[in-house]
């Protein structure tokens, strides 16, 4: 760890250099000050104001005010910008000794955000006013990194680590073999967890039509119910622009063969394996009342591992109808077909690019799995603004998955081997501005999933499973003053755990934020989370790929989270905006479900294993020039994950996470970007797995660097933009595992060409 501390010091030194030599002496002159507000009248902190002629800038304080001093007499153009709002350019004329007061109003834009979030309180809020830890991933980041999968998007969120298909928010999940995520995935606020395994589908998301991805990094069950044990990821889709927009993106690339010849144990291992795809999107309004967008992706990936190919087609649409001045209806839908050859575990470190085998009584379990996967999602929403102070919405959801396994001869296996799962439900929510200072949010929801599978046969021998649940929630937000805001709420969930047994869960939350001065905002929060074990965890009984037996007595796991922190945001040297966040957190987990080897059955089984505590701290710093052409950001997360029963570290949690990102417009048509992330090796891993899979206990530290160059040709008059990107992922060809017994992608090269018109 000394090495890491040295690097942190090195980075701080670098930041210091970045800021050196930029101090400007300013002439005495006039003064300009004022407040920046949204069109709704809300003061906006963190707005960038920049006077190009003077190369001087500032950023608004926590109450939305700004001030320039000593402006020489003259006429200047001032650029006012903030993510999520339309940029304004205002001409000002000021004379020596004059004090000009200029209040500015910014219009929000619907298709690009970053500062407005909805996940923390189920309503639109400025991120600076949110009293829990949150991060956003903007469309610009999604585009510039050619993000086509959610795990790629999450790789650079502070405190988030993705292990295979398990998302860890501050160490919440560890590695759970792809079932039973402790982080909840939402699309436009609607849960999108798989009805069968309760896991996340990283690929089925409309990335060309994503307004932003929000990551809530504390238990969120008080608003979203089960699954939000460690946090929430909310993918917000775009609305409809006033002018039609079309996007076409082509990408293609190759994985470099691994450098060790002894690992070239199959015919494809020494080839440059290809991946490619086309993304498309179109959105437009039809008159004042109708709008739609559609998007899709056609892709295939030969994979860098044997038996690890994917090919598929995804289609997404959203329709909007403004029925009346105060009534809106929208319908989001997606359909997807994938043909996958999935690599499950390797053949040991001697042969990491080929799947292994587990020899079991009477059979041999295979380390790869082949099948056809179909998914369908329909999310209708009805919104009615009864008056400016009362709004309610009704949301429905239908999420279906079907998996048809393919045998070794390439034929689809008989229908009794197919898995079918459906999740459906609805939700009603009302937002009431009860007083000038108070907003109340309340509602209820119902969900049920239905699964038919020959592998979910528990001790009761049934092949059809369902798991209904219902909930009521209430939250009140009170603004005691312009500086102090308090939020309190709860959610009451009832769900069926056995065929006839119903259990309940009460999840309270409390949070507060206080703007101590112009630059410093303090926040603290408390919340509870819970997760009902997925059908797979309770009923999976199969040894085709891994020896796993059911446990129908599995109980929900719960969490209690506390956090406190501050955000410090101020202009630096008249050229940069500086933002720093520091958060301390303490999460307690009860009845944590972990896969555990049971010697009695010679198989693994999900059991309520342990009490755990994950505490730690997270620091994030970013420096951005006022013209937003250059940015440097870093974050560091320290985790202390403890299994309180064994008095040992929790398995598969890294103690140290560090991320560094930089981007810079070298010219107005060329941008360079570099991302680096590291995670220390977990202090403890599951050694039972390595009895069956050779070297499954290997889990080295991660050091991954991604680099990109973007070339932009833009013709604003013709509304045409052409962007070509060269990307190298895992630039230094560092070999590590993306989850136990799966070799992570080696260095790969990618070319992306995107047209917008």
């Amino acid at each position: 760890m000394k090495q890491l501390a040295g690097y942190c010091f090195f980075f701080l030194l670098m930041v210091a250099w970045f800021c050196c030599g930029i101090i400007h002496a300013q002439d005495t002159g006039g003064e300009l000050r004022g407040t920046v507000l949204s069109s709704g009248g809300e003061t906006l902190p963190g707005v960038h104001l920049y006077i190009a002629e003077l190369q001087a800038g500032t950023v608004t304080t926590s109450d939305g005010t700004y001030r320039f001093r000593s402006i020489p007499s003259g006429s200047y153009s001032m650029r006012i910008s903030m993510m999520g709002f339309q940029t304004e350019i205002i001409t000002i004329t000021i004379s020596a000794g004059e004090t000009m007061v200029l209040d500015i109003q910014l219009e929000p834009i619907t298709f690009q955000s970053g500062e407005l979030v909805v996940t923390a309180s189920r309503r639109s809020q400025l991120i600076g006013r949110v009293s829990v830890s949150m991060n956003t991933i903007t469309p610009a980041e999604i585009e510039s990194r050619n993000i086509i999968s959610l795990n790629q998007a999450l790789d650079y969120v502070p405190g988030v680590q993705v292990l295979g298909n398990s998302v860890n928010v501050r160490g919440s999940s560890g590695f759970t073999y792809g079932v039973g995520s402790r982080v909840l995935l939402l699309v436009d606020g609607v849960p999108m967890m798989g009805p069968d395994q309760g896991g996340m589908d990283f690929d089925g998301l409309p990335f060309t039509q994503t307004r932003q991805i929000e990551v809530l990094k504390s238990p969120g069950s008080a608003l979203y119910g089960g699954g939000a044990l460690g946090g929430v990821i909310n993918v917000i889709t775009k609305d409809f622009p006033d002018e039609p927009e079309t996007t076409l993106r082509f990408y293609g690339g190759v994985y470099e063969p691994v450098k060790y010849d002894v690992w070239h144990t199959w015919s494809g291992a020494s080839d440059y394996r290809q991946f490619r795809g086309i993304l498309f999107g179109h959105s437009q309004k039809d008159g004042d009342r109708f709008g739609f967008w559609l998007s899709g992706r056609l892709h295939d990936n030969a994979g860098y591992l044997q038996n690890n190919t994917t090919e598929g087609l995804e289609l997404y649409t959203k329709l909007g109808w403004n029925v009346a001045r105060n009534i809106d209806i929208s319908l989001y839908s997606s359909a997807r077909r994938n043909r996958n050859y999935q690599f499950l575990y390797w053949n040991g470190l001697k042969d990491p690019l080929r799947p292994g085998e587990i020899r079991l009584p009477g059979d041999t379990a295979s380390g790869s799995n082949r099948g056809l996967s179909d998914r369908l999602t329909i999310l209708p929403v009805f919104t009615h603004n009864i008056n400016p102070k009362i709004q309610y919405s009704l949301k429905g959801r239908l999420f279906g998955v079907a998996f048809r396994p393919i045998d070794r001869q390439g034929n689809v296996r008989p229908s009794d081997k197919h898995n079918v799962g459906i999740r459906y439900g609805g939700e009603a929510q009302i937002n009431i501005q009860a007083a000038d200072q108070m907003i109340i949010t309340a509602g209820g929801s119902f969900d049920e999933n239905y699964i038919r599978s020959d592998v979910f046969v528990g001790e009761d021998s049934l092949m059809v499973r369902n798991q209904p649940e219902g909930a009521l929630f209430l939250q009140a937000e009170y603004n005691w003053s312009r500086r102090l805001t308090t939020t309190a709420g709860f959610r009451y969930d009832a769900y069926q755990v056995h065929t006839l047994d119903t259990a309940t869960q009460f999840s309270p939350k409390f949070s507060t934020s206080y703007a101590a001065n112009d630059y410093l905002t303090l926040r603290a929060s408390f919340g509870r989370g819970f997760r009902v074990p997925s059908v797979a965890e309770r009923f999976f009984n199969n040894a085709d790929f891994f020896p796993l037996v059911s446990n129908i007595t599995l109980q929900p796991e719960t969490s209690t989270g506390y956090e406190a922190g501050f955000t410090y945001m101020r202009p630096l040297q008249g050229l940069f905006s500086f933002r720093a966040e520091l958060t301390g957190f303490w999460n307690e987990y009860q009845s944590l479900v972990e896969p555990t080897f049971q010697s009695a059955s010679g198989s693994f089984q999900f059991i309520n294993l342990t009490e755990a505590r994950i505490r730690g701290a997270e620091a994030a710093i970013s420096i951005t020039t006022f013209d937003q052409n250059h940015q440097l950001s870093t974050s560091y997360t320290l985790l202390d994950p403890a299994d309180l029963e064994l008095n040992q570290p929790l398995v598969y949690r890294s103690k140290h996470l560090l991320q560094i990102s930089g981007r810079s417009f070298i010219t107005n048509w060329m941008e360079a970007g570099l991302d680096f992330r590291t995670a220390s090796a977990p202090e403890r891993v599951d050694t039972d797995f390595s009895f069956f899979v050779s070297d499954a206990e290997l889990f080295p530290a991660v050091y991954v660097t991604d680099a990109r160059m973007r070339f932009i040709r833009s013709q604003p008059s013709e509304k045409f933009e052409l962007v070509a990107t060269l990307m190298v992922r895992n630039l230094f060809n560092y070999y590590y595992v993306e989850r136990p017994a799966i070799f992570a992608p080696p260095r790969n090269f990618q070319i992306v060409v995107e047209m917008k018109f």
């Binding site: 090195f10 250099w17 001697k350 680096f676 070297d695 080295p700 660097t705 590590y736």
Partner: protein, 159 residues
């Protein structure tokens, strides 16, 4: 932009320094496996006639075979270790299997070749049943006991 060049000048060596370790690499050649199963076997009932005692050995297996051909295949592949021949017509005996690879041995038997065909004429006389029949080897020595009841031989393939 020139003024920001130092940033890039620092970023590049930083990531270079952090990424200089190449991570996973092929393991060195395996050291000889050192796992050992040391055991005792006791007998009860009537021993079979001598012409059915062509071979009598202890065999630890990492899988449960559905027929003895699978066992022979493993033997031919060099993946199988067994004890020396056990003594016939004694009330008890000891056995030792050395140089075992780490892992879980799920079917551990006293095996008897009872007929002339070496590929098929095998049967288990006794099965290790303690610890649910599992032996975990992790570079160590495990001590076990097996009882053979000639009047009540275990089924094969196992139920």
């Amino acid at each position: 932009m020139v003024r920001y060049a130092p940033v890039l000048l620092f970023l590049i060596p930083l990531v270079l320094a952090l990424s200089c370790d190449s991570g996973l690499e092929p393991p060195p050649p395996d050291p000889d496996p050192v796992g050992v199963i040391s055991g005792t076997v006791t007998y009860s009932g009537n021993w079979p006639p001598e012409n059915e005692l062509r071979e009598l050995i202890f065999v630890p297996l990492k899988f449960i075979p559905s027929d003895f051909t699978q066992v022979l295949n493993e033997f031919l592949l060099g993946n199988l270790k067994s004890s020396e021949r056990l003594e016939f017509y004694v009330p008890s005996d000891t056995f030792l299997v050395t140089e075992l690879e780490n892992g879980v041995y799920v079917y551990n038997i006293i095996a008897n070749q009872y007929g002339p065909v070496v590929f098929t004429d095998w049967r288990p006389l006794g099965v290790y049943i303690e610890n649910d029949g599992l032996i975990f080897i992790d570079n160590d020595t495990v001590f076990i006991h097996i009882h053979v009841d000639f009047d009540n031989l275990p089924p094969f393939p196992p139920e």
